[in-house]
């Protein structure tokens, strides 16, 4: 409420206030121009480094280009080639696995948050330690888990007992992706947990007490009273988890580099590999892969923006 719909200047009815001094032009237009002056550096950088590259990439995806020699316009042929690319489908499927399994981070995070939402001695430190994995770089998490999975490493002795001696999950083309996802989900759970802890902290106590008076207990209390109040936290947890799952580049690059036999590739890594690695500098083809990834992400972005727009309209 109360955001000035007209400038304060125009609210002044007395026209004698408008005195034409040197700075009068500036005085007249100050309200209108100031926001643009403040926006200028940020907007310029953002347009150059984020907005323009998106459109440029979409254009490059129509080219055959190695980054050095002149580019040749080839229309949609990069996309047509994608349709027949086995590795593209493997990557897409892996993205789907990431997405589905990553969603587990949301309920697990909620469970952990409920488990830890108590006031006992040292609980603040305990919560921080649970949150710890999120602060650490994914590169470090990837290194930790690679070493963890090494058959001569940490879980080796346990696998021996299970009769699986020398089993290396990251070398097994059927299961390597799950090994990476497991490592990737570890910090994501921590993030979801912290979102829900904040949500639980801000619950409306009166409603809960009223529910308890009405005899709501356990699951029904949780489902009918708690969960609806946690909706903002759930929304945010889902948004960051979806985006996290599609940004799986770091983990794959550290743990397997897409191998064995391309079985752990995801679109984010496959794009990088096609465009910028020893497998060839195929900028156009890489951009086409990026465009597919971008299109998938765009659904979530638009959904998020729509939600924000709704709440903006309510707030105004």
């Amino acid at each position: 409420m109360g955001w000035f719909s007209t400038t304060p200047f125009l609210n002044v009815p007395d026209s004698t206030q408008i005195t034409y001094r040197k700075s009068s032009w500036w005085k007249l237009n100050q309200q209108r121009l100031t926001p643009w002056i403040f926006l200028f550096p940020g907007l310029l950088l953002f347009l150059v480094y984020v907005i323009w590259p998106i459109f440029n990439s979409l254009y490059i995806s129509l080219l055959q280009w190695d980054g050095l020699s002149p580019a040749i316009y080839v229309g949609l042929s990069n996309y047509i080639e994608l349709l027949d690319d086995e590795y593209f489908y493997i990557s897409l499927m892996n993205n789907l696995k990431w997405l589905i399994l990553f969603m587990l981070a949301v309920p697990i995070g909620l469970g952990l948050a409920i488990f830890l939402n108590q006031t006992i001695f040292g609980i603040r430190l305990i919560k921080s330690l649970f949150f710890f994995p999120f602060v650490i770089s994914q590169v470090v998490i990837g290194i930790i888990f690679s070493w963890f999975y090494n058959p001569r490493g940490v879980i080796g002795p346990f696998l021996d007992k299970l009769g699986l001696s020398n089993y290396a999950i990251l070398a097994d083309e059927n299961f390597a992706t799950y090994g990476i996802i497991f490592a990737g989900i570890y910090p994501q759970i921590a993030y979801c947990m912290i979102l829900y802890l904040t949500g639980l902290n801000n619950l409306n106590i009166d409603q809960i007490e009223a529910g308890r008076m009405d005899g709501a207990k356990g699951l029904s209390l949780f489902k009918n009273i708690i969960l609806p109040q946690l909706k903002p936290a759930t929304f945010l947890a889902i948004v960051v988890t979806v985006i996290g799952s599609l940004r799986s580049f770091d983990m794959v690059a550290i743990m397997t580099q897409g191998g064995p036999y391309g079985s752990t590739n995801v679109l984010a890594y496959y794009m990088f590999e096609t465009a910028l690695s020893e497998y060839g500098y195929r900028m156009g083809y890489g951009s086409a892969i990026a465009a597919v990834l971008f299109t998938i992400m765009m659904f979530y972005i638009l959904f998020f923006i729509y939600r924000m727009y709704q709440s903006e309209k309510k707030g105004l």
């Binding site: 955001w3 000035f4 719909s5 304060p8 926001p35 403040f38 926006l39 550096p41 940020g42 907007l43 950088l45 953002f46 480094y49 907005i51 323009w52 590259p53 998106i54 440029n56 409920i114 939402n117 108590q118 006031t119 006992i120 305990i126 330690l129 994995p133 602060v135 650490i136 770089s137 994914q138 590169v139 290194i143 888990f145 070493w147 940490v154 912290i194 979102l195 904040t198 801000n202 619950l203 106590i205 949780f222 708690i226 903002p232 936290a233 945010l236 599609l246 770091d250 550290i254 984010a268 794009m271 990088f272 910028l276 951009s287 990026a290 990834l293 972005i301 998020f304 924000m308 727009y309």
Partner: protein, 283 residues
């Protein structure tokens, strides 16, 4: 309170809760405990496969010394700081301005620009990769700290603007109005009223961006090639290739890489979490 405070539960629940919490914490942290244990071991333990037993030697310091002496770790860390600190300053300063502009002025394109910032912030890095790399090449900034910082500042402006705008929007508008009636110029409103009031938001953003940039790996791989500008994440990755079997040194290196964001987190925990959970309690 939800769930019911444990203090109101029967004794047996209270006892089992107090046992269960540390046990689950231990299980949760096993991967991290594992790497810490490994970083204090010597090569003997590693080759003998002694990963979980008591270390036969305590070599944490000599491992760390080894890492610093035999690898460019020190220059990686310095590079990480050279990349992270200017990015934090740049992104926070710029987004104070954009946030203020979008929060307190009404003009036609306002919401459109705001949503552009938000949308850009969620875009997959790969769609930016080739043009940004080309642009950096053309400006002669490929393989330099400056080139990486410029991109980071630009990209982080999206998230920071979202954050600052919402924070400034929640400030009481009467403050600005009163200042305007007193004849304060718009620039002075920004400098003398908005900036001091947004200090908590600036702190929260700074820790968050510090962590994000310190941990960045993708852009360091795309825009940096040589050791002279490589940050620690990309450096660790190159060490990972060289030292497949020398886990005790790799562990020590990983721990060194994790120290700055961890310190940052513990010092500024409240701000850090406030930043991350923006919007988790109200729609």
């Amino acid at each position: 309170m939800f769930p019911i405070p444990i203090q109101k539960r029967p004794l047996i629940n209270r006892i089992s809760y107090k046992i269960l919490v540390p046990v689950s914490l231990f299980v949760w942290l096993i991967p991290l405990i594992g790497i810490m244990l490994t970083s204090i071991r010597g090569l003997g333990d590693i080759t003998a496969g002694n990963y979980w037993g008591i270390p036969s030697e305590f070599l944490l310091f000599s491992n760390i010394k080894d890492v610093f002496q035999n690898t460019p770790m020190l220059s990686y860390i310095i590079n990480s700081f050279k990349i992270t600190i200017p990015t934090v300053i740049g992104a926070v300063a710029i987004s104070c301005m954009t946030g203020f502009a979008l929060a307190s002025y009404k003009f036609k394109a306002n919401l459109f620009i705001f949503f552009t910032f938000i949308a850009g912030n969620f875009v997959p890095f790969q769609i930016l990769m080739i043009p940004v790399r080309d642009l950096t090449f053309q400006m002669g900034l490929y393989d330099t700290v400056t080139g990486l910082v410029l991109f980071h500042v630009a990209f982080q402006t999206g998230f920071c603007t979202l954050f600052m705008r919402n924070f400034i929007k929640a400030l009481p508008n009467e403050l600005f109005e009163a200042a305007r009636i007193d004849g304060t110029s718009e620039f002075n409103i920004f400098l003398k009223i908005v900036v001091p009031l947004t200090r908590p938001a600036i702190a929260a953003l700074s820790v968050l961006i510090f962590t994000f940039i310190w941990n960045d790996f993708f852009w360091a791989t795309v825009l940096i090639q040589g050791q002279h500008a490589m940050p620690i994440t990309a450096g660790l990755k190159s060490l990972n290739g060289q030292w497949v079997t020398v886990y005790h040194l790799l562990s020590a290196g990983s721990i060194i890489a994790a120290v700055p964001p961890v310190i940052m987190f513990f010092l500024m925990q409240k701000h850090f979490i406030a930043g991350l959970t923006l919007g988790a309690s109200k729609g």
